[in-house]
């Protein structure tokens, strides 16, 4: 009897030891998973992007210089000012409203690194929603970053999301009620920079960010505001300029000129009853003409195949092509896809054409810019040709975005 009890106790101890060892082993495996994913997320959030300042760039400010409510936050982005040699109008070009649409950011990058204003003033922002550059779509299996080949190597950029990082603004409401229209929008859109215009000073981070941009637009006396985007081919608002009422004539002029000389681009009216979008609210709540440009990005299409960096940069996708064969797309696509150079070139040309058309319509407030490649040049040499080597740059002329 006594021997049986001893054996049972020993067996129990042995089992307990086995359970403890098993828990330790499984916990170790879990820890490995935690570390591997954590390192990936940390690297993405802290990947440093460099900007080699254009010779025409006169000042780098912070968004918080216009509204203190974003100071010290992740969205306190750089504001690049390019003062022209001669006076004229002020144009504000913003990339990174939706950082999962990289052509918008990269086109703005080409202006920050190359533009020299001869007449008027240019303001450039590369990361409108900087928080959204630090996260990718949850469950979307997006690459965290991508590299653009250049003449000296490669430059690496963060790929972001349509919405700000939940680490920076959380929790979301059940229903997002837009201010000041009180229109009901999807709950996650309270982190979408293009649903929170014109913002409010005491709102959530994204609302404070758009409020800060509105302050920038008012304080700098911006005449034209341009918001750079990309769109899936299954979305009807694509390859187009969306214009506020005050910019209809300008956008029509730009669309006609580009469609005649470079590539097809349409023009659409900003809906009056759809609130929170830049092309509506910036025009309504400031004196600036508000335009939004859309380029085609198959990476965003729901019917896409593998979500890879290659697909992001080449825009080649057999599944999206198949959707096109069934008449489900609002833009053409073939084996050549929609390469990033084409998409960026569309944006740079459209911005430059807007300057020219604006100047024709407003000769007393001209805009003239040199140094930035147009559509054909970007395609010919690749956009990386226009991204300058930070190592070779003049000291003090490189900043981190």
């Amino acid at each position: 009897m006594r021997d049986e009890r001893v054996e049972t106790a020993e067996a129990g101890r042995s089992t307990d030891l086995g359970v403890v060892l098993r828990k330790l082993l499984l916990s170790g495996l879990g820890l490995l998973l935690l570390i591997a994913s954590g390192v990936s997320f940390y690297r993405h959030r802290h990947l440093e992007e460099t900007v080699v300042l254009s010779p025409g760039l006169t000042e780098v400010k912070k968004l918080s210089d216009y509204f203190d409510g974003v100071r010290g936050t992740v969205n306190d982005c750089n504001v690049y000012i390019l003062e022209g040699a001669a006076p004229g109008a002020t144009m504000f070009v913003m990339g990174g409203t939706h950082p999962e649409e990289p052509a918008g950011r990269l086109a703005a990058w080409l202006f920050a690194e190359n533009a020299v204003m001869e007449q008027g003033r240019l303001i450039v922002v590369l990361s409108g929603n900087r928080s959204a550059t630090t996260v990718t779509r949850l469950g979307g299996a997006y690459p965290t970053d991508f590299a653009i080949p250049t003449d000296y190597g490669e430059r690496r950029f963060r790929l972001g999301d349509r919405w700000g990082n939940p680490l920076d603004q959380w929790p979301d409401p059940e229903v997002y009620i837009h201010y000041p229209s009180r229109q009901n929008l999807a709950y996650a859109d309270i982190r979408n920079l293009n649903r929170t215009w014109p913002g409010r000073p005491d709102g959530k981070l994204t609302e404070r960010t758009t409020y800060a941009f509105m302050q920038l637009i008012r304080q700098e006396g911006v005449d034209i505001f341009i918001d750079l985007h990309e769109a899936e081919l299954q979305y009807p608002v694509i390859s187009t300029i969306v214009a506020h009422d005050s910019g209809e004539e300008l956008a029509t002029f730009v669309s006609m000129m580009l469609s005649d000389e470079q590539f097809n681009i349409g023009m659409e009216y900003s809906p009056k009853n759809l609130h929170g979008l830049s092309h509506r609210e910036v025009g309504d709540y400031s004196d600036a003409v508000s335009l939004l440009f859309e380029a085609p990005e198959p990476f965003l299409d729901a019917t896409r195949g593998r979500t890879t960096t290659e697909q992001l940069l080449t825009g080649v996708d057999e599944f999206v092509m198949k959707a096109g064969e069934h008449g489900l797309l609002f833009e053409r696509i073939d084996e050549s896809g929609w390469p990033i150079d084409v998409r960026v070139g569309r944006h740079t040309s459209t911005v430059l054409q807007t300057m020219e058309s604006w100047t024709e319509l407003n000769p007393d407030r001209p805009l003239a810019c040199r140094g930035v490649p147009r559509y054909a040049e970007v395609i010919e040499k690749g956009l990386g040709h226009w991204l300058h080597d930070p190592v070779q740059a003049t000291p003090g002329r490189v900043v981190t975005e």
Binding site: R22, K23, L26, S27, L29, G30, L34, G38, Y42, L167
Partner: protein
């Protein structure tokens, strides 16, 4: 309103920490390996959020 948001966020992180503690406790008490694996997998996203990584 900003202060209220900060408080809500803090409460949210306190809830995340509480769930982490509960999951670890359940992991310690579990006797089946399937349950242990489940607790560990469920723990990971909570820890990533608590450490402000994702």
């Amino acid at each position: 309103m900003v202060n209220l948001q900060s408080i809500v966020t803090l409460v949210y992180y306190a809830l995340v920490a509480f769930v982490v503690v509960i999951l670890v406790w359940n992991l310690v008490k579990a006797r089946k390996w399937e349950q242990e694996v489940l607790y560990i997998i469920v723990l990971i996203p909570f820890l990533l959020r608590l450490f402000r990584l994702k």
